[in-house]
Every structure is written in structure tokens, then in C-alpha cells.
């Protein structure tokens, strides 16, 4: 259960930065309970000395953990491991990942895939002139053969090639990563509304049933819009959980 800083092995020839090596090791120790919740870390100077690092480098490692919510620093007091249990960070994940990790054997049915002239709301999100051709897809998510959600996604045409098989096998985000498209930030809006007749039909639900909806636009490094998604979920079968740290 104990933990001593000496057990952190540093590889100075690794391309992985030293501060990151330290941070990773400390994160592991916290996750594994070696550093118990409430435990106080040694002060920065001692830790730095013991690891043969300068204080700024050690501080950077600790700062990384503080940003992620693992530890709290208090001037004059010291640095302590935070007690809260849930640490799932906000991240860009797809419903497919969520379902897969929940062991629900999700299935995807591709309802449509092709090039279309971009509708108004898509043009706005992707910052393209209205009517520009965009790659469009509509998918239905099912678990245990029950439809759970309908996902409509749009991408600028030149960014990605994608097949029915890609979408049914791995999901859009995995395909985008394969193609070197790395989402850097995203804005999503979550809301609710009553299902229209057409929406209800796609979900095997009745008209007026509550839907959870999400619109998301993803951007790359340079702020170029990569993808716009307009999704709706059967309310009884889905929820969104986020963990917020800070402020």
C-alpha cells in the first residue's frame, strides 16, 4: 500500500518527456490505491531531488495531475490526493464506444450513405456555402435488435472516404482516426424534444415520445470543422454523464 517516490523509474533517453513519465506513474499509483485518497505528497523540492529532477519539471508533473483533478495543491499546506471516486474526464467519445464497453453488443444499420447538397444547418456548422456537396450518412443504432438511436452525420467531401462496412464495423470516429483526422475540440448541444412521426418510426416508438438529442460539431487543430452530427436517442435508453473538474 505504501508508495515511495524512488520507485519511479525515469528514462532520460525516451522521447516521452520526463514530467509526463512522472505524472503517469503518479496517476497509476493513485488509481491503484498505492497513493491513498487524502494522502499527502512530499513537497516539491524533496520529490524533485529524489528523482534527480529540477523543481519546475516536478511541478509540471504535479500540475498535470492537479488539472486532471487527481490532487489538490494548497499553498503553505502541501499537495494531497483528492478523495472523490469518479474521475472520468470529459472526452470525445462515440455512442458506439459507450455501448461496446457496456457489453451491450451494439449493432449499426446504415440507412443512407452518399454525397448530398448540404442543408442549411449543415452549411452553417461546417462553414461551407449552402448547397456545397457534403458526405452524408444516416445510421441506426440497435442493441438487442431494438433501435436506440438515429445518427445523421455530415463531413466535407474531400476529407474522408468511408464505406458501409467501415461504419458497421468500427464507427465513424474510428474511421476518422484511421484517416488521420484528429478532432481537437468539439461543441455539443444536448436537448430534448418530442418525436415526430418519422422519428418515432425509426425508433420503433410512438409519436410524441421523448427524445434526447445532440448536435455536435468537431474541429481539428486549426479550427477547421471536420464533422457535424445531428443525433437523436430514445430517451428511455440513453443518458449522458460528464465529470467536470475545476472552477
Amino acid at each position: 500500500m505504501g508508495f515511495s517516490a524512488e520507485s519511479i523509474l525515469l528514462d532520460r533517453n525516451s522521447p516521452i518527456p520526463l514530467y509526463y513519465q512522472v505524472a503517469q506513474r503518479l496517476e497509476q499509483a493513485i488509481e491503484a490505491g498505492e497513493l491513498a485518497p487524502g494522502a499527502q505528497l512530499d513537497n516539491e523540492i524533496q520529490l524533485a531531488d529524489r528523482l534527480g529532477l529540477s523543481r519546475p519539471t516536478m511541478r509540471r508533473a504535479i500540475g498535470y495531475l492537479a488539472d486532471k483533478g487527481y490532487v489538490v495543491r494548497q499553498r503553505g499546506i502541501g499537495t494531497t490526493v483528492v478523495r472523490s471516486r469518479v474521475r472520468r474526464p470529459v472526452a470525445l467519445t462515440s455512442l458506439y464506444d459507450d455501448l461496446a464497453s457496456a457489453g451491450q453488443r451494439p449493432r449499426t444499420r446504415v440507412l443512407a450513405l452518399g454525397i448530398v447538397e448540404s442543408p442549411h444547418e449543415v452549411s452553417e456548422a461546417l462553414e461551407l456555402p449552402e448547397g456545397t456537396p457534403v458526405l452524408s450518412m444516416e445510421r441506426q443504432r440497435l442493441a438487442a435488435d431494438e433501435p436506440l438511436a438515429v445518427l445523421r452525420n455530415y463531413l466535407p467531401v474531400d476529407l474522408l472516404e468511408v464505406t458501409h462496412e467501415d461504419l458497421e464495423r468500427t464507427g465513424l470516429y474510428a474511421r476518422m482516426r484511421e484517416a488521420g483526422l484528429r478532432p481537437h475540440s468539439a461543441t455539443q448541444t444536448i436537448a430534448a424534444r418530442a418525436a415526430s412521426a418519422a422519428e418515432a418510426r425509426l425508433l420503433g416508438d410512438r409519436r410524441g415520445a421523448p427524445l434526447l438529442t445532440m448536435q455536435r460539431t468537431s474541429y481539428d487543430d486549426r479550427g477547421r470543422a471536420l464533422e457535424y452530427g445531428d443525433h437523436f436517442y430514445k430517451a428511455s435508453a440513453y443518458s449522458v454523464t460528464v465529470t467536470l473538474v475545476g472552477a
Copy 2:
């Protein structure tokens, strides 16, 4: 429209850190369009020299902006202002704040306030034995005299004293801050469902109308649960927008 680093005035006697003064000024410049999207910043050395700062301090200012998603740094290339427009960070905010900043003149009606034995779900969220007395409150949010939401919140009894006036004047989170309770992290679950008859009555809506719901548990520094909230919103009047940066 132009922007020159020289226009950043530093106060070395201020208790506000230099890196933060610089970051704030740059953030303003970006928000105001003085630094246009896509614009390239001067390199770190030049900026540091021009402001009379060391490079690490200048780097820290830029790093702060990069974390917030305002700029992107690319090795060998430079630092550029990101093109996406929406930058609202994920944060712990209350509906009251949201409405106030939207200029909607929100009003709060306190429906109930007192000590009750904690119901099952509250006990679980706050990690208290079932039946423990907890501070309980039920509030209705209105804008333009239309009910928008119903908020039920529960706190351990010994943490906070709160009056009807506190709740109607400033909101629960403001009162908690006054009392020195500083939420450090929170987990929230957002979902949707159809309104029951009782819920519909409180919102002036019909039974079965779609609701957006949120459950939130807030924790302090040490991971103690501070507050549990169970809220529902008229779906037509509310949505949640988050901006995610990273990964």
C-alpha cells in the same frame, strides 16, 4: 483591427501574475477580433522580449490560451488563433447564471425548504445512511412568468444555512460560495423523459411532454459530497451546450 504586443500593459506590482495578465489581454484581443481567427502570433522569443518577460513566462501565458482552445501551437510552424467561434468552456454553472447572462430576468419561487429524512437516491449520492436528516429544497425557475424548470436539491445538514431570501436573490451556488463551500468537481447525468402529471403541473405543461433532466453531485477538494441536485426542465425552453477541448 491590427494588434501589437506592445499594447499589452504589465503591472509588475500587481498581485495578478504576469503570465495571467498577458493571457487575459490576448484572450480579450481574440474575443474582440483584434487577433483575427487564423492569425499567426509572433514567436515566443520575440513576444517575450517585447514585453520584457522571460520566455517561460510568455510560454505559460500562451499555454493557458492553448488549454482553453483559443490558439494552437505547432512545432516548427508557430502559434495561430483557432478558427472555431464557440469557445464556452465546460464549467460548473447554474441555470440561474445562464439565464441572468442571457438577460432573461429569471425569477425563483421557493416551493419548499427544510430538513427531511434523506430519500434513497439522495443517501446514495451524498454517501449518507438512509434516513439521515438532510437540508432539502424545491425551487421553481420562471422567465417572463413562465415556469421553466423545477430544481430539487439536497445537502448534508451541517454544511449550510440558507433562507428563502438567499435562494430567491442569488441562487444556491452563490450562497454556497459565500459560506466557503467550494465545489471542486461534479458529475452530472443528462437525460430526457416524459413528464408525469405532477411534473407537468409544476411546469404548466401537459402530461407526457418531453423533459430534459439533470442529476448532479458536487464534491469539494477532499472529495466530500457537498450537494445533490435532481432537476427537470421544460424541453422546449432549455438545452445544454458544452465545449470540449482535447483528446
